[in-house]
């Protein structure tokens, strides 16, 4: 075998892109989707992320991706998908954005198939499964590893553009700072986690950095890398937050050291049943209380029901999957079964699994319009870090769809608007060195405050107390990262306090009913000193035939 020339692994690729390149912060589904959209149009981009795409939280997504493909002969239609999404989100989402999402969903799944995403297929068409809040089978899937399978297909597709130079990866880089002048974002500073070097990257910025898990250490099903630090930095720099009080608790999770593990909604979609013990007998409470959708009610409803039982005398809730057929386990839920075996030492095909709700998704985030523009020019956001599509509660199967579609829309908008930027070159920032990043979370004290006040059931009294406590922590916090996180958490608390009603995933024990005066988007602004919370009207739908 011929010896091969020693290859070097440069920390910084060359040559530099000009400011015409768009900067994407995050290399999960939303970031990859944005990169691919730009590259397909010949527009260069930089894909900045602390880790390679293979490590992004998107690979953890399990159950599936919604699209009204109607391959199951149920006369499904994108507008039914639209209505289910709006209803599931308690009519708090932007209807124009949601309509775009649902209408494009079939095209998106078909494109993923053409990229070789190994979804479950039959006769050349994706097989669809039932998911919560939807009466028709609409969720394309790959066992319970759908996120991994979609990510693999997209990673391979984007690789072609990496080779051509249109997509330049900045792996092991993280956002150091956004460069916001007034109401204009001119680029970013990113820090190399290996070397500590900081680089200035000019041009438009698409944030696709995921949720805000660092506020709830050990309580979430997601990645510890999705800290929310990017969202917090943008918020501190003047980007508005929208609906940050809406946190999705997935009803069926279990605790493992350091985090919570998800039992995919697919388990219930395939026939898994929730029960508790009442007078020593199994009580299938969801089926009795909600005969139409039963165990497949939207996640906010199921989580509330489970939490009520947990807080009452009986306490425990189990998910019974023992009646699922062997073929279902083999073809559709093999990964889930293995996970239960690995981490619980229990076989869900043989015995019920005890479950409880865990933080799974943040419906709120950076405010964006239907074109994924934040309130700062040149700054866009997509995926879980943005507030779009899901209103007060996200339907299962809509997160990956929202990330991919959102990435496409954000990229399209950035492409159309970024040509207005004056040309600048990227360069190393002299005299600035960043610390090596080891994922961290807020202090235990802060985590206790957020966890207690922002649970499934909330009250004005506890929220007010939490705001006071967090303000005290902010006053004494000198670390920039931790201070930003506390400010982000305070915004969540203030929003939850301001919304004096119960809607979707936000349940106030002191305001238990929905109030139409609050069928609006919560907006939080920070001017560097004060936070203000206001309500913004939901856009009326355009056109008469809708």
């Amino acid at each position: 075998m011929k010896p091969r020339k020693q290859r070097e692994f440069p920390n910084q690729p060359t040559p530099p892109h000009s400011s015409a390149a768009v900067n994407i912060i995050g290399a999960g589904l939303a970031g990859l989707s944005a990169a691919m959209t730009l590259a397909e149009q010949g527009i260069p981009c930089r894909l900045v992320a602390p880790m390679p795409s293979e490590r992004a939280q998107s690979v953890m997504a399990e159950g599936g991706i919604n699209a009204a493909l109607d391959t199951m002969g149920e006369q499904d239609d994108p507008m039914e998908h639209f209505h289910d999404t709006m209803k599931g989100g308690a009519f708090l989402a932007d209807p124009h954005a949601v309509e775009g999402l649902c209408r494009h969903a079939p095209l998106i799944v078909q494109k993923l198939c053409s990229l070789g995403a190994a979804l479950q297929m039959k006769d050349g068409q994706p097989v669809l499964r039932y998911f919560g809040g939807q009466k028709k089978r609409r969720t394309a899937y790959a066992q319970s590893s759908t996120g991994k399978i979609l990510m693999t297909a997209l990673i391979d597709a984007v690789r072609k553009y990496e080779a051509s130079g249109l997509v330049r990866r900045y792996s092991h880089h993280r956002l150091y700072d956004l460069l916001v002048n007034g109401q204009q974002c001119d680029g970013v500073q990113v820090a190399d986690s290996y070397t500590g070097m900081v680089w200035f990257l000019p041009g438009a910025v698409i944030l696709a950095s995921g949720g805000m898990n660092s506020l709830f250490p050990g309580q979430t099903t997601g990645s510890v890398v999705n800290t929310g630090d990017v969202t917090a930095q943008a918020f501190v720099d003047g980007a508005a937050l929208a609906n940050p009080e809406f946190i999705q608790f997935h009803p069926t999770t279990f605790a493992i050291p350091g985090k919570r593990c998800l039992v995919s909604e697919a388990a219930r979609g395939e026939g898994g049943r929730l029960f508790t013990l009442r007078d020593g007998q199994k009580w299938y409470f969801m089926e009795e209380k909600y005969p139409e959708l039963g165990n497949l009610m939207p996640r906010d409803v199921v989580s509330r029901e489970i939490e009520m039982i947990r807080q009452s005398g009986s306490g425990q809730v189990w998910l019974d999957m023992t009646a699922l057929e062997r073929t279902v386990w083999a073809a559709k839920l093999a990964d889930l079964r293995q996970e239960c075996l690995d981490y619980l030492g229990k076989d869900p095909a043989e015995e019920p699994i005890e479950v409880s709700p865990g933080i799974h998704y943040y419906m709120g985030g950076l405010w964006v319009d239907e074109y994924h523009r934040t309130n700062i020019r040149g700054l866009y956001a997509a995926g879980e870090c943005a507030c779009q599509y899901h209103g007060a509660n996200r339907l299962g199967g809509n997160s990956m769809l929202g990330a991919i579609y959102g990435g496409q829309v954000a990229a399209q908008t950035a492409a159309e608007e970024s040509s207005q930027c004056p040309p600048k070159e990227e360069h190393m920032v002299e005299g600035l060195t960043a610390e090596r990043m080891i994922p961290t979370a807020v202090s235990q004290q802060a985590a206790k405050i957020f966890t207690r006040a922002l649970g499934i059931f909330r009250s004005g009294e506890i929220l007010s107390q939490a705001v006071t406590e967090v303000e005290e922590l902010i006053d004494h916090e000198t670390d920039r990262l931790q201070r930003n996180r506390l400010l982000l958490g305070k915004a969540m608390l203030l929003s939850a306090l301001h919304r004096q009603e119960s809607r979707g995933a936000h349940t106030r024990t002191d305001y238990p009913a929905a109030d139409d005066r609050y069928r609006k988007t919560t907006l939080v602004h920070f001017d560097g000193h004060e936070m203000t919370v206001t309500l913004q009207d939901i856009p009326e739908r355009r056109g008469e035939d809708r």
Binding site: M51, R55, M60, S145
Partner: protein, 235 residues
């Protein structure tokens, strides 16, 4: 239960290195090497068994449930994911943690695995035309989609070196997905790359069998992919 974690400490590639030992106690069922590292780093002050204060341990993690491959390292000499390595399964309560040795060190237990992605790019692992997923190839394409790019299979491979011509199973598995789904015309370029970077270099030691944290049946995938590439060669 009390454990002694012997951890490779090295601040940077050029710096001195040594094992430092830390006592870790937990009663949590299912505690893993990953959760132990998390807990050690959360201590206000990290001190070793001799009472010497240390900096936080540098290691990579993301999902903490064996879906992302970030936390691959040597646990008592065996490459595996820290989030999958149960403390209770380690012999005598002594656990030695080292970085993967086939990749350039960043610090402590963190290595730079960029070479994995460089290899995939060099092999042109992408599709220039539509990929077909059907009832026949679905199961194998699914399996080939699961590769974590963690590098465990390369760590044990006697034929792989980051600067060598053989790219190993971390390149074979993603290639297999496309080879199964592309027609013979569209896969021509990838088949050529595959023969050069995979078939020609694999010594069939089978060291990579049973090492994959994702449970990928490497032998089956490789035999199918080899068949696809070599059949065209012989035709």
């Amino acid at each position: 239960m009390k454990y002694l974690l012997e951890i490779w400490r090295q601040a940077s590639p050029g710096a001195g290195s040594c094992f430092r030992s830390y006592v870790y106690e937990t009663e949590q069922a299912g505690a893993t090497v990953a959760s132990a590292l998390q807990d050690l780093n959360e201590r206000p002050t990290l001190t070793d068994v001799n009472g010497v204060t240390d900096s936080k341990i540098v290691w990579a993690c993301s999902c903490l449930q064996k879906k992302c491959g970030a936390c691959a390292m040597l646990v008592n000499g065996r490459p595996q994911l820290a989030c999958k390595a149960l403390l209770s399964e380690q012999k005598k309560g002594v656990i030695r943690l080292e970085p993967l040795r086939k990749f350039p060190l960043v610090a402590d237990l963190m290595v730079n695995r960029e070479v994995l992605f460089a290899h995939l790019q060099e092999m042109k692992v992408w599709a220039e035309s539509s990929v077909s997923v059907n009832d026949k190839n679905n199961a194998l394409m699914y399996e080939a989609s699961l590769c974590l790019q963690c590098g465990c299979c390369l760590e044990v491979c006697p034929n792989f070196s980051p600067t060598g011509r053989f790219f190993g199973m971390a390149a074979m598995v993603p290639s297999a997905r496309l080879l199964m789904g592309l027609d013979s015309v569209s896969s021509k370029q990838l088949r050529r790359q595959y023969r050069k970077a995979i078939v020609d270099g694999c010594g069939k030691s089978l060291a990579c069998q049973n090492i994959c944290p994702a449970g990928i049946d490497i032998e089956q995938l490789m035999s199918r992919s080899n068949a696809v590439t070599l059949w065209h060669l012989l035709r």
